[in-house]
Symmetry: C2
Subunit: 110 residues, 2 copies
DNA sequence: CTACCATGCCTAATCATTCTAGGTATCATC
DNA sequence: GATGATACCTAGAATGATTAGGCATGGTAG
């Protein structure tokens, strides 16, 4: 029962979504697979987490959405990172780095 | 305006508390300062987060508590890591490492 | 002696975010 | 005709952290 999947922590999902969209516009369903692929199959976002998160993120102006047609010919809502979303991603990445550093310090502490 | 404090993420607090107690028994109030010190002043746990967390953690059998007298001569509840708590800490650290790795992969992904 | 600050504990209410567990519809494949 | 993949969505529960208090003791500054 080797555990290779990593559980998400509350607060990281927005960063992951923004990161996925930083590689280019994508529809919601695709964001899930892109995150899975980018993370080397380690991260798995549930639909029930994703769609509400996308809604939140759009409300905050970090992405725009537009109905288009996907690669498979189906209707799909494509999300594009805005300039504010790019800034937000940078901030979240910086915050993540601070936390990782702080916890690394905890680890070494005697 | 350099930002050096790191914000906690939901789910990391238990690990921090267990880690602090892995250096030896301590009362609640002291856990806060030990975490601050171990993290190089980067992590600051609020009392309103700490005490409920300690309660949870004790319910789960990860720590024992005993009323004793602190260095300053006051009554204080001292928490000691149990064997199960040690195991839990190991698991949470492993889980943290997986998440950090997964997000690092996301970062490199093109 | 009184005010304040540090030490030490605790709780209630709120908030934010994620997960569970559904539901809908289309299209391809078996 | 059933199943599975693609694609969207929501309601409700659970989790956990924060805010904003409260209480008590003891030391120190004024």
């Amino acid at each position: 029962m080797t555990q290779h999947k990593a559980d998400l922590l509350q607060g990281t999902l927005d960063m992951l979504i923004l990161k996925a969209l930083s590689l280019g516009p994508l529809h919601g369903y695709g964001v899930i697979s892109r995150i899975r692929q980018m993370s080397g199959e380690m991260l798995d976002v549930e639909q029930g987490s994703l769609y509400p998160a996308l809604y939140r993120i759009e409300q905050r102006g970090w992405v725009n959405s537009k109905w288009e047609v996907s690669e498979t010919g189906r209707r799909a809502k494509f999300y594009t990172l805005t300039r504010a979303g790019r800034r937000q991603l940078d901030e979240e990445e910086a915050g993540w780095d601070r936390l990782v550093l702080a916890i690394a310090k905890m680890r070494q502490a005697t």
